[in-house]
């Protein structure tokens, strides 16, 4: 098993943080863009870039609501995103197990 088998969409530091953070929310929950930015510690531009990649892969969805001062963009992990993280975690564990001395 090699690192190439890890999902390349998730296998980037910032995107891994985003996906893991969103996975701590309950199913059916979302996190506002500003709070996600605050928790992850990314600039808005960086966060948008990474969210776009995750969205293209179908791993996250963003929903805009309200307008003006009540405008909110909610970001949530899709079922596919949760499944992708589970697969990523499994492959990572196998890689670490195979690398550790017997």
């Amino acid at each position: 098993m090699t690192e190439e088998e890890l999902d390349s969409v998730i296998h980037a530091p910032a995107r891994l943080r985003i996906v893991v953070t969103l996975a701590t929310l309950g199913e059916g929950d979302d996190l506002s863009f500003t709070r996600l930015q605050d928790v992850i510690g990314l600039t808005p531009g960086n966060l948008i870039t990474h969210l776009r990649k995750l969205e293209e892969a179908g791993y996250v969805t963003t929903v805009k609501s309200g307008s003006g001062v009540t405008a909110r963009t909610g970001v949530s992990l899709t079922r596919e995103g949760r499944a992708a993280l589970d697969r990523y975690t499994m492959v990572l564990r196998q890689l670490l197990d195979s690398a550790s001395p017997d």
Partner: protein, 210 residues
Amino acid sequence: MTDGQGTDEGMDAREAAGIMQDARKHAEHELQFSHPVMLAGWGVIYILAYGWLWLSVRGQRPYQGPTGGAAGGVTILVLVGLTITAAIVARASAGVGGLSSLQRRIYWLSLAVGFAGIYTLEAAIDHAGASRAVIAVIAASGPVFVAGVVYVAGTAVFRNWAVCGLGCWLVATAAGSAFAGPVAIWAVNGLAGGLGFLTAAAVSARRGRA
């Protein structure tokens, strides 16, 4: 090491595992609150509040009910507890929307409606001419009963079995202590209920570490 600032630089499996662990811990710290700390805090408030009320009625012949000073002090104590709880929950849930936000609001509404109902009932039986001893049963056990029922029902939302056990224990405490008489009912509710909260906190903490 990775810069964590959004670059797509490669990382090995060990670095990825480290990032996952850090991110999960950080997210849980930011987006969740500690049930054990909350339960332990309310256990202490519970013992202090009921202890204070019991001290104010101890030795009354005939029974008159808690003094105005004790009732006022306990009200302030509970309001401080509620304010701290609301601040902790608000910090953890800031920016979180969706199902759990709705569930949390209904949970708090059920507590508020339950307490409003029980205090209205207390006023109604007072108005109907019930004795101080009968009013004590509602005043001391009513809020405990409401909290217990809401905790049991809330398990459907929060899936915390320690809180479910606490809810069952509070209902049993509220019902059982009603036989203790108008003075002892405050002490029994305070001790049994407070210890119930502290036990639930310990069980919840142990499950969190497992």
